[in-house]
């Protein structure tokens, strides 16, 4: 694994018995000594610490100095209302291409005089190049390479983090704040990717090992690997870019209309003006030919990515993420089906090892999320 990069928490991972695997160009922990199932359930019942330092952190600043100008510039690349994002707030966004496909999904925070973006590890170089190619006239694009990123997730995340950083208790879901711990500046958002309440914390790489040690020293906090993270986000109905979203899926096909505010839709104050607007705006009004849905296999056999979905003899879709859901104690999947078969409860079949097995279209999340609104 010599070509792979390591995060600042590499030694921390090994000291907790991590099994390291290649992921998006990094050596990352797929699990620790406890194993995927225990880690998953621990996150649902207490608090889990995730190293997400491989993700890209970028500061976008308008040359004019005005965060509104940065917001308007970013709106030319995403179908999301960034201008309406208040200071101290974060929202989900998508970079689209000219065909209406998705280049990456990301989080955008308004941090007063600039926007702070968190993008996927596998896409970060392309995203930064994309930002520079389109926004350099009016903005500076600053990749942040000297800060690590960790997530603390679960019903006990607030109580755990508050022992180190009392101010986090005042934050609500999708709030962002700058707080400090032991003289270290933390950029915190109350968000995550597990369907649980929790926080994502950006901090100087030089301090992250000390911070992670302080968190796992708490009785309620355990380190959690990528294996558990994948089933956690799947149970929460959240997309994994590269699996459930890519350049061939549009926001409407991906059932992500909720991320496109009125202001950017037809008749809105800042209608269109992002790549692929013609197709995306039309699909918002008329629907798309296929749709991302939840899929609940009726038996115990997991239907993993690539499983073909049938209605009678006709292939109507394919699973894009599938696993056993430890919280549900049952297999869960998501995938794309022809829109005619996308209604909740539609009975379909998935082909697993040559056998057609029953599966039903289901609402997502598969279990209620526990965000602190």
């Amino acid at each position: 694994m010599s070509d792979l990069k390591r995060t600042e928490l590499y030694d921390f991972h090994l000291s907790h018995g991590a099994k390291m695997v290649p992921f998006a160009g990094y050596e990352m922990p797929v699990q620790y000594a406890a194993g995927v199932m225990k880690e998953h359930l621990h996150t649902r019942s207490a608090a889990g610490l995730f190293d997400v330092s491989h993700m890209g952190q970028v500061i976008l600043r308008a040359k004019s100095g005005s965060v509104e100008d940065a917001a308007l510039a970013l709106e030319t690349l995403v179908p999301v209302s960034i201008l309406a994002l208040a200071e101290g707030r974060q929202r989900y966004a998508l970079f689209t291409n000219a065909d209406g496909g998705i280049l990456d999904d990301l989080m955008v925070a308004n941090r007063g005089d600039h926007l702070f973006l968190v993008v996927n590890a596998a896409c970060k170089d392309a995203d930064i190049a994309h930002l520079k190619a389109h926004l350099s006239d009016t903005c500076t694009i600053e990749p942040i390479t000297d800060r690590a990123l960790v997530a603390l997730q679960g019903p006990m995340a607030e109580a755990a983090l508050a022992t180190l950083v009392p101010g986090v208790s005042d934050m609500k879901f999708m709030d962002v704040a700058t707080l400090s711990w032991d003289g270290v500046e933390l950029w915190i958002s109350r968000s995550g990717y597990t369907g649980e309440d929790g926080f994502e914390i950006s901090l100087p790489s030089s301090d992250v090992a000390r911070f992670a040690d302080a968190l796992v020293a708490l009785e309620t906090v355990e380190p959690i690997g990528l294996g558990a993270r994948d089933a956690l986000r799947l149970e929460a109905g959240l997309c994994l870019y590269g699996s459930d979203l890519d350049t061939t899926t549009t926001p409407v096909e991906g059932a992500l209309e909720w991320a496109i505010q009125k202001a950017r839709r037809r008749g809105g104050a800042r209608e269109g003006g992002f790549p692929g607007a013609d197709r995306i705006l039309a699909e918002l009004e008329n629907g798309a030919s296929r749709r991302r849905v939840g899929l609940l296999p009726e038996g115990r056999a997991p239907m993993r990515a690539g499983t073909e979905i049938f209605a009678g003899d006709q292939k109507v879709g394919e699973v894009t993420s599938g696993a056993f859901g430890p919280t549900l104690q049952a297999p869960v999947s998501m995938g794309y089906v022809d829109s005619a078969y996308s209604a909740t409860g539609t009975p379909l079949e998935g082909e697993v090892r040559g056998k057609r097995l029953p599966v039903k279209v289901a609402d997502m999340p598969f279990r209620p999320s526990n965000y602190k609104r």
Binding site: V30, Q31, G35, V36, M37, H40, G227, A231, R300, A301, P302, R304, A323, F324, P326, P331, R353
Partner: protein, 119 residues
């Protein structure tokens, strides 16, 4: 007990051979969440993929370790796949085979040889 390179164990019990997977294999797989067993009264040949075992990580096949006939399967695994992690060499046997030519077992590893292989 005898062992295969595919991390299966075989135990002779009267005129049948009981087959399961080793502790090492169950640890490597991680938490087992699904087991698909073969049909009884099926003739199988060495290397045939006859069971599927899925863990939280991935699906793997279990192959017939020798030629013979499946005479019993452990239905308890279908309802409680986690047994494979709890007691891989005991309660979590997968199937029993009737084997005509018991000399097939002579070519398999004993415990020491298996432990050397996984070291």
């Amino acid at each position: 007990m005898k062992y295969t390179e595919d991390h299966e164990w075989l135990r002779v019990d009267g005129d049948v051979v009981v087959v399961g997977i080793t502790e090492h294999a169950s640890t490597q797989l991680g938490d087992v969440v699904f087991v698909e067993l073969p049909e009884t009264e099926t003739q199988v040949a060495t290397g045939d993929e006859i069971c599927v075992i899925e863990s939280v990580k991935a699906a793997s096949d279990i192959v017939a370790p020798v030629d013979g006939e499946i005479v019993a399967v452990n239905d308890a695994l279908a309802d409680n796949p986690g047994l494979v992690n709890e007691d891989p060499t005991g309660e979590a046997w997968f199937f029993k085979m009737k084997v005509e030519d018991m000399s097939q077992l002579d070519g398999l590893m004993d415990e020491d040889a298996y432990n050397d292989m996984i070291d």
